[in-house]
Symmetry: C2
Subunit: 133 residues, 2 copies
């Protein structure tokens, strides 16, 4: 099991983050080892704080309307190494160590395994295989 | 000037994309050369089609409420090499060649130049310098 870093964000940094009308901000998870973009999900102020405190990504599940501690069910925990917010403070980026096969519920390493374009099978990547990203 | 790739997405691929209540979908731009996440912005169905047709990112500006052909003003065009949609088809990823200094209006290469944590200056990166991402 990998280790995540507890990040002591300042009150100013936390206050800077801009949430949408639903109180959510998009959060990108990137594999720190090779730059692969693993997934994009959403956080609210609570789950951002949990993510920084626990050193692992904790999202807000928009479909289940609940805190989603990534990997609690699947084992595919994302251990946070660094956390960034963008120039407008309305998007987040987490550089992580990805436990398990990958980030995607399909079994793919990255959720972005489907490319636009002709001759792109809708499910080119089988569970357990790495995506092209 | 770099070249972008026209991508002929299938009608099924375009129809799969899920837009939010405002008709928008988050779009991540990643530097194809080294995996740096350059920015995250938004597209609607029209600007996604324009992006795929023109081979450069065209976003929807939520602040200006208009089509935002990235780089028309700044020269910092993003030439699309590959385009992906995620497992839920509610997030997009574009691997691009970034023209100019970078993606960010501050002059930073990446919009994600601010890290959470103590001793993280709010503006660690000066315009024209590369960000830590």
């Amino acid at each position: 099991m990998s280790a995540g870093a507890r990040i002591d964000a300042t009150p100013e940094q936390l206050a800077a983050v801009q949430y949408d009308a639903d109180g959510l901000v998009p959060a990108i998870a990137q594999d720190v080892s090779d730059g692969t973009i693993l997934m994009m999900a959403w956080m609210n102020a609570e789950t951002l704080q949990l993510t920084l405190q626990e050193g692992r990504t904790v999202y807000w599940s928009r479909s289940r309307h609940e805190v989603w501690r990534k990997g609690d069910t699947s084992g595919e925990v994302q251990w946070v190494q660094q956390a960034f917010y963008d120039c407008d403070a309305d998007a987040l980026l987490f550089k992580v160590i990805q436990d398990g096969n990958g980030a995607c519920h399909t079994g793919a390493r990255s959720c972005f395994f489907r490319a636009f374009g002709p001759d792109q099978p809708d499910q080119a990547i089988q569970p357990g295989q790495n995506g092209p990203v």
